[in-house]
Amino acid sequence: MLEARQLSFQFAHNAPLLQAVSLTLSAGQWIGLSGDSGAGKSTLGKLLAGYLAPQAGDVALDGAALPKSGVQPVQWLPQSPELAVNPRWRVGKILREAWTPSDAQCQAFGIKTKWLSRFPQSLSGGELQRVCVLRALAPAVRFLVADEISTMLDPITQVELWQALKQEAQKRQLGVLVISHDTALLKRLCPLRYHLSEGQLKQVS
């Protein structure tokens, strides 16, 4: 179980962004998070994945702090896949940075063998996002923070990506926090949804 316990966060010289925010994500659970731009959705996602340290409160995985080294059980997936990959690496190397996905897993995510020898600049945003999502699904990973990962994709690619992720998450009982502005998408994917506003989480009925 991944828990955010009374998290408070503010960037230097700015008003508090999150004020005593608590959230619990269980194995296999999908939670949706919406909110206005600048409300702190991505910040909350980064706090959960250990990319940022909270000023107050803590993030606990099964009651203990997140591990300091090794493959992190909570992985953050950013909106722009172009920034999430080393532009000097070929796609095959990027995909296998932490683990080696099977051919069946590559197929499930629509990753074609011919992409692997290319550089990321020659792939579209949607193609690259699939690579980034599969890369993050290393065996030790238990929770995902999907931060607007389908915002820049066309509707068909969006459906394909979410279907593949849903299947993999079901198989492995992954907990997923989906951050998006798209309330229709959140409704379809997540039984439990929250709206972040003025540093507070409110459950959406």
């Binding site: 990319y51 493959v71 992190q72 992985q75 722009s80 920034l83 000097r88 932490a98 993050a136 290393a138």
Partner: protein, 272 residues
């Protein structure tokens, strides 16, 4: 109708390739001349002392009747090797310290302090002190130039590394369980290689100018070596006597070499 053969983005690459070609020819000519010349730079002709430029003595001769073209070429070759080694050593120091600065905040503060301290001390004074303390000679000049020229490059590399360290793919790599060494070696350093190449090329003209300056002031290479600094210092003694070729040709040679490397590094910087 005007035919445009190259796009705007190709121009810097073409210029860099042209500069690289010219500089490579210059360097190959210098290296080859040292094999072909043998000890011509040291051969004295007492019947042709201080001879002006002519068909027999292309760039004239010095006070001991030695051919100035041979001595200028030998001096430029010596300057080239000194400059190469000093620039390489300097770049290695800059890269190592910049990499060290990324490992912890304390090390970063220490490296920054070292950079600021060295940048605040006048270059030439420090060069003279180090070369003097090391007893002069080729080795001392290389060490002195290398030890004093790394700070500005280290500052650029450190800033670039600190920026890259926050890049999402670097942070994701750490989250995927990769070690700091892996991130430094596989993600960060390959990005710095173009910066290092341009930095080393920019350091090179500085290095040879300072080598010549140190030698001219008597703190560098031995007067028995045909270094450009030695030739220029010799020329100073005859400055008022009308023997203009003693200073003009070695000076022009040095200027040509410095300019060609300076142009190459500036074109490469735009192209990369």
């Amino acid at each position: 109708m005007r035919l445009v053969l190259t796009s705007q983005s190709d121009q810097p690459r073409l210029r860099a390739a042209f500069s690289l070609g010219i500089t490579t020819l210059l360097v190959m000519g210098l290296v080859a001349s040292q094999w072909l010349l043998g000890d011509s730079a040291q051969q004295m002709q007492f019947d042709a002392r201080l001879a002006p430029p002519s068909i027999d003595h292309w760039l004239g001769t010095d006070a001991l009747g030695r051919e100035l073209w041979a001595r200028t070429l030998a001096g430029l070759a010596l300057s080239f090797w000194v400059g190469c080694l000093a620039a390489l050593l300097s770049t290695l120091i800059a890269l190592s310290l910049a990499a060290l600065a990324t490992l912890s905040a304390r090390l970063d503060a220490l490296v920054s302090l070292l950079i600021d301290t060295l940048l605040s001390v006048p270059h030439l004074i420090l060069l003279m002190l180090i070369a003097f303390a090391l007893g002069g000679g080729t080795q001392a000049v290389i060490i002195a130039v290398a030890v004093t020229h790394w700070p500005s490059l280290a500052r650029v590399l450190r800033a670039e590394l600190l920026h890259l360290r926050q890049a999402p793919y670097v942070r994701i790599s750490r989250a995927l369980g990769k070690t700091r060494w892996f991130v430094l070696h596989d993600h960060l350093l390959p990005h710095l290689l173009p910066h290092c190449l341009v930095g080393a090329l920019l350091l090179f003209p500085h290095a040879i100018l300072h080598e010549a300056a140190l030698t001219f002031l008597g703190f560098g290479l031995s007067p028995s070596q045909p270094a450009i600094g030695v030739l220029l210092a010799d020329a100073m003694r005859y400055l008022n006597s009308g023997y203009w070729w003693l200073g003009v040709f070695p000076g022009l040679g040095l200027l040509l070499m410095v300019l060609s490397f300076e142009r190459l590094s500036s074109h490469l910087r735009r192209a990369l």
